[in-house]
């Protein structure tokens, strides 16, 4: 644990880098949705595999059914990113993007994937740029539809014990729409990340 825990400076640097990256993602979302987007202060924590669902539920809230899009990334840093939409967010998405009629399930899924892809790309590329560590991505897939938050991840299928969890929240001002972007980086990536953060701090 002590080896993978970030120092205070590393955490501060990661938070600032994430803040800058999510600013870009937020601006793209604002453009797509035609609304001002409120950005949260990024949350950074170390997540324990056995307790990961509880940690995510704490951020996202347990009351609502959620739909989630997942993408994995690789490069010097590897891990997974998830965009989680709550029920209302899903319902409002097509409408917000200018679709006037009721859209079918296929279109709705496509929009969820597209928006997820835009947010993950902008946010993680932003982090990767600042850390000079290019990433490549798998195509996004929907991993849950109207599911309970607790069911998003099956702890038995995880290949890691600890992962670094970065959480950011985008809230639209004009309509009821919130989505969460979660990034999980397993142990072996954390030491790479720490090195990259140290190099970043030395460069400033």
């Amino acid at each position: 644990m002590t080896v993978i825990a970030l120092t205070e400076d590393q955490r501060d640097a990661l938070q600032e880098i994430t803040n800058i990256a999510m600013g870009r993602a937020g601006a793209l979302l604002a453009q797509l949705m035609g609304s001002f987007v409120h950005l949260s202060v990024p949350g950074i924590s170390l997540a324990d595999a056995s307790n990961i669902s509880g940690t995510i539920a704490q951020t996202v809230g347990r009351e609502l059914a959620v739909t989630a899009v997942r993408q994995s990334f690789s490069g010097t840093l590897r891990g997974e990113a998830m965009v989680i939409y709550d029920e209302r967010g899903c319902r409002n998405l097509a409408d917000l993007m200018g679709y006037e009629d009721e859209v079918g399930q296929a279109t709705e899924r496509e929009l969820l994937l597209d928006v997820g892809n835009v947010l993950v790309g902008a946010c993680l590329n932003g982090i990767a740029d600042l850390l000079v560590s290019p990433l490549s991505y798998s195509p996004p897939t929907i991993i849950a539809e109207n599911a309970e938050v607790d069911r998003l991840i099956n702890p038995d299928q995880l290949t890691w014990d600890y992962a670094l969890l970065i959480q950011v929240r985008f809230t639209l001002e004009i309509r009821d729409f919130t989505c969460h972007l979660l990034t999980l980086m397993p142990e072996e990536s954390i030491s790479q990340l720490k090195k990259a953060l140290d190099a970043f701090m030395e460069s400033i």
């Binding site: 400076d9 501060d12 640097a13 803040n19 600013g23 604002a30 001002f36 950005l39 202060v41 400033i204």
Partner: protein, 122 residues
């Protein structure tokens, strides 16, 4: 006499990056604040002829700082320094009295440009 300037950001790394990006020849006395409340206190103490202000902060954010300053007569040249690059964010902080808007990560040229644009002596 050095110009009293205030650097407001919840991240110490971000404050360090900003301070390093200031024009080296500019004679300043730097105060740092890590949240909105500290910023307002330093402003009231006369330590902020120029204020570099982050927007996204826990507790009291940059918008709330600008609102407070406006109520108190806004006796400061405020440069908003933020990762929020939405056009509306820029318009909003201008409406709240900010003089300039610089996006993160800051680069020395953009800081110098806004200071010169407003005739601040460097």
């Amino acid at each position: 006499m050095p110009t009293p300037i205030l650097v407001v950001d919840d991240s110490s790394i971000a404050r360090k990056m900003l301070i390093k990006a200031l024009p080296p020849a500019w004679d300043v006395e730097i105060t740092q604040a890590s949240n909105g409340n500290e910023a307002v206190a330093a402003y009231r103490a006369g330590k902020a002829d120029v204020m570099f202000l982050d927007l996204t902060m826990p507790d009291m954010d940059g918008y709330a700082v600008l609102e407070t300053l406006q109520k108190e007569g806004l006796n400061s040249f405020v440069v908003v320094v933020t990762a929020d690059v939405q056009t509306l964010a820029r318009e909003r902080v201008r409406a709240l009295g900010a003089a300039a808007f610089v996006k993160k990560p800051v680069d020395p040229a953009s800081i110098e440009a806004v200071l010169r644009e407003y005739g601040i002596k460097l």
